[in-house]
Amino acid sequence: MASIDIHGIRKSFGTFPVLHGVDLTIRDGEFIVLVGPSGCGKSTLLRMIAGLEDVTAGEIRIDGKRVNDLAPKDRDIAMVFQSYALYPHMSVADNMSYSLRLRRSTKEKIASAVGNAASKLGLDPLLERRPRALSGGQRQRVAMGRAIVRQPKAFLFDEPLSNLDARLREQMRAEIKKLHGDLRATSIYVTHDQIEAMTLADRIVAMHAGVVQQVGTPLDLYDRPANLFVAGFIGSPGMNFFEGRYVASGEGAELQLANGATLPLGKRLGIESGSVATLGIRPEHVVIADGGALEAKVDLIEPTGFGIIMHVTIHDIPMKIFTLDRAMLNPGPNVRVDLPRDKLHLFGTEGTRVD
């Protein structure tokens, strides 16, 4: 187990920069999730930690030791690949013991390490099979088993659940969390799935276009997104945004929309009156009430079973409402809604959060 320090990491492929200076400190035993859309550089960052990509600039330290120029095998890390990367011509047991055999561990040590990992992952009856005779979920387990037997300083996961179907993904997600609870191993997990990020992480690192947008606990990112990107990326259905002009008036303040309508903000915030701002509210925080301040035209109803996603238009701006009220399956052409002031997020001209 070890801490990992990433300092000023940059990466370019040729002249094309993909990472613009990433700083991150990962504590011993922490579960970190790198999340972001495709092409944001999260996988590249992970592969640099693994040693599969060269570092253009900056420094990576594992357990205090600089590893920039170390080969992957000398970094004492294990990685689980999206494709699992199991050796097809080796049995499950051989796949799991390959790293130990390369290190010339004793037969007894290999047998006990493989046995322990197999029983932890329920692989005992499959040890003699070849990967092609396994289902997707079983292959996934073998890939994790291969990582566990080494007892490495850190586990790296590169979108390990993307190739599984939804039900299995849910199940493996819980297993990974349980496994981390048992092993308390430093883990870095890359995903584009925000549910995986929210459920697994001790801390989430949200990335976009090669830049870290926010680092924090899952609820930090949900409750207090640092900027428009994080606000829009975390949460499903995504946050609603109203673009307009921030106007301070007396004790309070309001957001003036393009069509002249105003949305009250409740209190004055730390930006200049008259500047461009974006107001955000999550669909689940919009309150439907007969006496609501705003009129919303109902466009579409999406029942999800658990709740209902309503597509509505307020002041010509499309937005979504998530409600558990089944009466809203047949809401009529218009509903009245309130935007509770303590649930509003305001983002300034640059898209950063304003409090």
Binding site: A50, L52, A71, K73, F81, S83, A85, Y87, H89, L102
Partner: protein, 307 residues
Amino acid sequence: MTIAAHPQAVRPLKKRIADASEPYLYSAPALILIITVMLVPLALGISYAFRDIQLLNPLSGGFIGLDHFRALSEDQAFFRALRNTLWWTGASVFLQFLFGLILALLLDKPFAGRGIAQALVFLPWAVPSFLAGLNWAWLFNPVIGPLPHWMYALGIMDAPNNILSDPHLAMWGPIVANVWWGIPFFAITLLAALQAIPRDLYEAASIDGAGPVQRFLSITLPFLAPTIAITILLRTVWISNFADLIVVMTNGGPADRTQIVASYIFTQAFKRLDFGYASAIALVLLVLLLAYSMLIVLLRQTLLNKG
């Protein structure tokens, strides 16, 4: 149902014959073609092996049973040709494979100009074998070719002689030409197999602690094994039947030192014009190659089942 079945019972004979022969008529063109172009020559060739057929003797052509094979079993030239065939085929296939594999591994790594290099590698394959043979014969000829002088300068040879006229070295001439000519086949097929290996596996192995040699042994080789088996099988059969280079470069000489079974058949059939005896030798070669092919196919099957 009886009503529906009734018309069939009184179907006219002609119609029944037509219906029964319909599938055979459809497949007839293909079958006739295969029989005429493949089976008839094969059967004819096999029958020659049991007949006395000499082009210059109008009285020949009679059935002589196993006489050719009795003569063959005492023919020292044939046994020498058989040994030479083993030597020629073994050395050519091994060297072609070795250099082809090295070339494929080099071309698998990305570098500037790789596309052009890959196209150039294929070039020798496009050279007609007779032209390749002539070229190499000239290269080995000290009067016009540079190779003997270079080898002399490097101290490999005592004097800048033509190795093709040295009984102890002559076989190396056609082998070198054959290796040059056949490398592209191995390089291209092995390169295709190499590029089908998922890169993830190499990355996983390097994280697991495997060095370049271990990665080659535990990932590259197992993945290439089926391709290696089938290409070596094909090349072995082709090369042992491949007399062009030998006929052009040495014509079996000096003193029959480069005579292989295929060129011996050529000599018997088209120089001595003894088609019967040549067919008998060809039949023996066919049986040997069939046995060899069966062996390799079985080997490949067990390899595939294991993997």
